[in-house]
């Protein structure tokens, strides 16, 4: 495994997309870590004397309606928003892959029942479903992750199932059975690794969606509870002051856009790298 992984990684970072996207993501990651270790001001401390101040040497990105330092809130919020997206993707992809693989591989009545339920879930727009679940869970970071991953899981399961269905028919899967390998072994050794490419691509896309969805939930007041900052929350709070203090909307908005750009570039590079036909291009 190790001997194959290193050259693949090196090849990945020869792609311009991967370099650009990776740099942007690294930047955001550094911001998130810095935000949890050190911020210029306390991100939740109010200072009504410095309300809605434009960017200056004291407050590089200005202050918000409670006099809180926008840069500090941005840095702190980076960790909150990105960790929510990360765990959402992890949970949605993990559960969706297992469910999709199981339905695709074993078939039968289990597949029919599971797919019927998943299709019913898919019928709801995922944001509406997450909204509904948030009212049950109440606003909290864990609640956002649970709601979003449940909302995204069915589409992951669908994608994984369809690619398992095609890989399942390959002769090397039959060969594995003839060699006396158990079904779970065959599944994890031969079927799933060959479904990896679409899963990775979907995961990067999901990361972006989750980031936006968290923003949307926070915007609607169902996301991360105040006063803790998240990018979506900051965007949502800024709406009353767009005319007086445009930086309040611009700063989290640009951050979200840049992260999405980074994710998409990186996802494109990953997709090309994992598609054997694109290997030499």
């Amino acid at each position: 495994m190790k001997s194959r992984f290193a050259p693949a990684l090196a090849a990945l970072f020869r792609r311009p997309n991967a370099i650009a996207g990776g740099t942007l993501l690294l930047l955001m990651l550094v911001a998130a870590i810095v935000g949890h270790v050190y911020t210029p001001y306390d991100p939740v401390e109010n200072d009504l004397m410095t309300r809605l101040k434009a960017p200056s040497s004291a407050h590089w990105l200005g202050t918000d309606e409670w006099g809180r330092d926008v840069l500090s809130r941005l840095l702190f919020g980076a960790g909150v928003s990105m960790s929510i997206s990360f765990f959402t993707v992890l949970a949605a992809v993990g559960a969706g892959t297992l469910l999709g693989a199981a339905t695709g591989y074993f078939g039968g009545w289990f597949e029919r029942v599971a797919m019927a339920i998943l299709d019913a879930l898919l019928a709801f727009p995922s944001l509406i479903m997450a909204l509904g679940m948030m009212t049950v869970f109440g606003p909290s970071r864990a609640g956002v992750i649970a709601a979003l991953s449940l909302a995204y899981m069915p589409s992951v399961a669908r994608v994984v199932r369809s690619s398992v269905l095609s890989v399942r028919e390959k002769e090397y899967v039959e060969a594995s059975r003839v060699m006396g390998n158990s079904e779970p072994f065959t599944m994890f050794r031969h079927v799933l690794p060959n479904c990896l490419a679409p899963i990775i691509v979907l995961a990067t896309a999901l990361f972006g969606w989750a980031l936006l969805a968290e923003s949307a939930l926070s915007f609607l007041g169902l996301g991360v509870p105040p006063p803790a900052s998240s990018w979506g929350g900051m965007l949502s709070d800024s709406r009353n002051y767009v005319a007086q203090a445009p930086w309040l909307a611009l700063v989290p908005g640009i951050s979200i856009s840049v992260t999405l750009l980074g994710i998409n570039l990186f996802g494109d590079a990953l997709r090309d790298q994992f598609d054997p036909r694109m290997k030499n291009l």
Binding site: K170, E171, Y172, E174, A175, S176, R177, V178, M179, G180, N181, R189, H190, P193, N194, P276, N280, L281
Partner: protein
């Protein structure tokens, strides 16, 4: 002599490679096709034969380009024609038939609509006239119910019928030239002959010249007037068919002809009639067809119907038959990929259905399978050593280092030594992949090897090497070998005994010599007659041999089994049985 229909002059086609250089796949090729003649382009994969066919119509893949040369069609150079001019030529003046008829016919349109579309477009016929011509043509390709076919959709027909429909819809335009790219490669031997006969007769009547692209030397020898032998994009030899294929001058042609399977003069190694390894008795395998509505019961379909056969230790038994004969299913039942619904399979006297847990695992170590498609039978993400080592995974008491060592030793054994173990399948050719497949199957030294069409996807020269490898390994390890194939030539070369299957039933069974030299069942006779062979004569030349065995009357009171009811296996001579039914 009249002017040639098609005249290709110094044609060069280049393909852009991933590293941005250009590789010539067709290099200075020249040949003519006289009106009404059939010229065959023959060669192995990579010879450029398909590229030439496509270059004539300028339907090359996007990476390929005509670099220089002329394609003179009725005196006009197509190589320099515009795309608009080409569109008028395609279909109307030059027709094309591809290997896979399901891909070339539009599944969403009726046969009639597709046939009339071209007639109305190119010949400006009204629909009544177009309909009349289309029906006429369907009749001439021997479709049983032309008006019914006219209204039907392509998926309602089998591969052979579809290829006839394809022929009809191309020839209804009365093109001056027909390009047929491996038109019968996907079809069974009997159907292949029917389609080729129809094609040859029709084009002769209409006066259409044919450019046949094929790798099948036996077929080319039976139908083509002239042969152009290609190798790596260059013409090796060209001339009258008889002259090229039966008295070749060039070394490469001789090499190709010598690679064709033939009965070994010495005969296969006869092992002393030893113990029985596998005993299959009255075995049926049923599949369930999905019903149309979910409340209906699934319809059972018998892929194998009460078949009995035995396989001795160290013996090679070939199962032959067309697609749907159940030959593959028998092999899959032996390696437990499917289960029989009745009857019994015994391996060294032990009932297979009784196996479970440890005894099933140990049985699986003793039976292995080699698959047909070298491109889908190896996991693309694993190294060759890992692929082969997996064959030893269930063998008790081996460390992973030991497994790796044995896997590499086995790879060397099949001709992939040294650092091949660290490579991935996509770095190998088809023949090399099949070697890996074989190494994986025999690394645990099984007693039984089931091979399902293991060489039918390979070129004849590679096929010869792989068959040689099988023979050497069998000599060395002594496994029994169930060889499933539709290729009677290959079977004749390697089999000790032959079983002929048709629609799930065994029709004839005997030693190779009994089945090939004195076939009894009419189906076996037809099968043999449909497979012309080129074999070496005593004086360095070659001859086209067509099997012409005479029918032998069945025993009094019986007829040869022809479907329905249960057949009786009648022993015509020791070890040679044929299926009969009461007359």
């Amino acid at each position: 002599m009249s002017a040639p229909t098609l005249s290709i002059r110094n044609l060069c086609v280049g393909v852009r490679t991933p590293d941005r250089s250009t590789r010539r796949v067709v290099d200075e090729v020249s040949f003519d096709i006289e009106p009404g003649k059939m010229v065959a382009l023959v060669g192995e994969s990579g010879s450029g034969k398909t590229m030439i066919g496509r270059a004539v119509l300028k339907l090359l893949p996007p990476v390929a380009r005509i670099e220089s040369g002329e394609v003179l069609f009725l005196g006009r150079d197509l190589a320099s024609s515009s795309e608009d001019a080409m569109r008028a030529v395609r279909g109307r003046d030059i027709g094309m038939v591809f290997q896979e008829p399901m891909v070339s016919l539009n599944p969403a349109l009726t046969v009639g609509f597709q046939m009339m579309e071209a007639l109305r477009l190119h010949h400006k016929l009204d629909s009544a006239e177009a309909r009349k011509r289309a029906l006429e043509m369907l009749e001439r390709v021997k479709i049983s119910d032309p008006p019914g076919c006219f209204r039907a959709y392509p998926h309602q027909y089998s591969g052979g019928m579809r290829q006839r429909i394809m022929l009809a819809s191309v020839l209804v335009m009365r093109p001056a030239l027909l390009i047929a790219d491996e038109p019968t490669t996907a079809l069974d031997a009997l159907i292949q002959k029917e389609v080729m006969d129809i094609m040859a007769a029709l084009t002769r009547d209409i006066g259409t010249s044919v450019l046949l692209v094929s790798h099948d030397l036996g077929m080319v020898a039976s139908y083509a007037d002239r042969v152009v032998m290609l190798r790596l994009g260059k013409v090796v030899e060209a001339g009258e068919t008889a002259q090229i294929l039966l008295a070749p001058k060039h070394e490469y042609t001789r090499m190709l002809l010598d690679s064709l399977p033939s009965r070994q003069a010495s005969g296969p190694r006869r092992r002393a009639p030893g113990e029985t390894l596998v005993d299959i008795e009255n075995v049926s395998v049923e599949f369930r067809k999905k019903p149309r509505f979910f409340w209906q019961r699934p319809v059972p379909f018998r892929a194998v119907d009460r078949a009995s056969l035995t396989l001795g230790k160290g013996e090679t038994l070939a199962v032959v038959g067309e697609s749907g004969s159940g030959k593959t299913t028998i092999g899959r039942a032996l390696v437990r990929l499917v289960e029989e619904s009745e009857g019994s399979i015994r391996f060294e006297g032990r009932e297979l259905t009784a196996l479970e847990g440890r005894s099933l695992a140990s049985y699986r170590l003793q039976t292995q399978m080699v698959f047909q498609d070298p491109f889908s039978s190896l996991d693309p993400r694993m190294t060759l050593a890992a692929i082969v080592a997996e064959g030893l995974r269930t063998m008790p008491g081996l460390t992973s280092a030991e497994r790796d060592r044995r896997a590499r030793a086995m790879l060397a054994e099949v001709g992939l030594p040294g650092d091949y173990g660290d490579r991935h399948p996509h770095e190998l050719s088809g023949g090399q992949r099949q070697r890996v497949s074989i190494a994986r199957a025999i690394v645990a030294t099984p007693k039984l090897l089931v091979a399902d069409e293991p060489v039918s996807a390979l070129d004849v020269t590679v096929q010869k090497q792989i068959l040689r490898l099988f023979a050497d390994l069998q000599e060395k390890f002594g496994f029994s070998y169930l060889f499933i194939s539709h290729d009677l030539g290959v079977v004749e070369q390697i089999a000790d005994r032959v079983v002929v299957m048709y629609r799930g039933r065994i029709l004839e069974c005997g030693t190779r010599d009994q089945v090939y030299d004195s076939p009894r069942h009419p189906y076996t006779l037809r099968l043999l007659a449909a497979t012309p062979r080129i074999s070496r004569t005593a004086d360095e030349g070659y001859e086209l041999v067509r099997h012409a065995g005479a029918e032998v009357a069945p025993p009094a009171g019986f007829a040869y089994y022809a479907g329905g009811g249960a057949p009786v296996m009648h022993e015509v001579s020791p070890g040679h049985t044929v299926a009969l039914q009461a007359a």
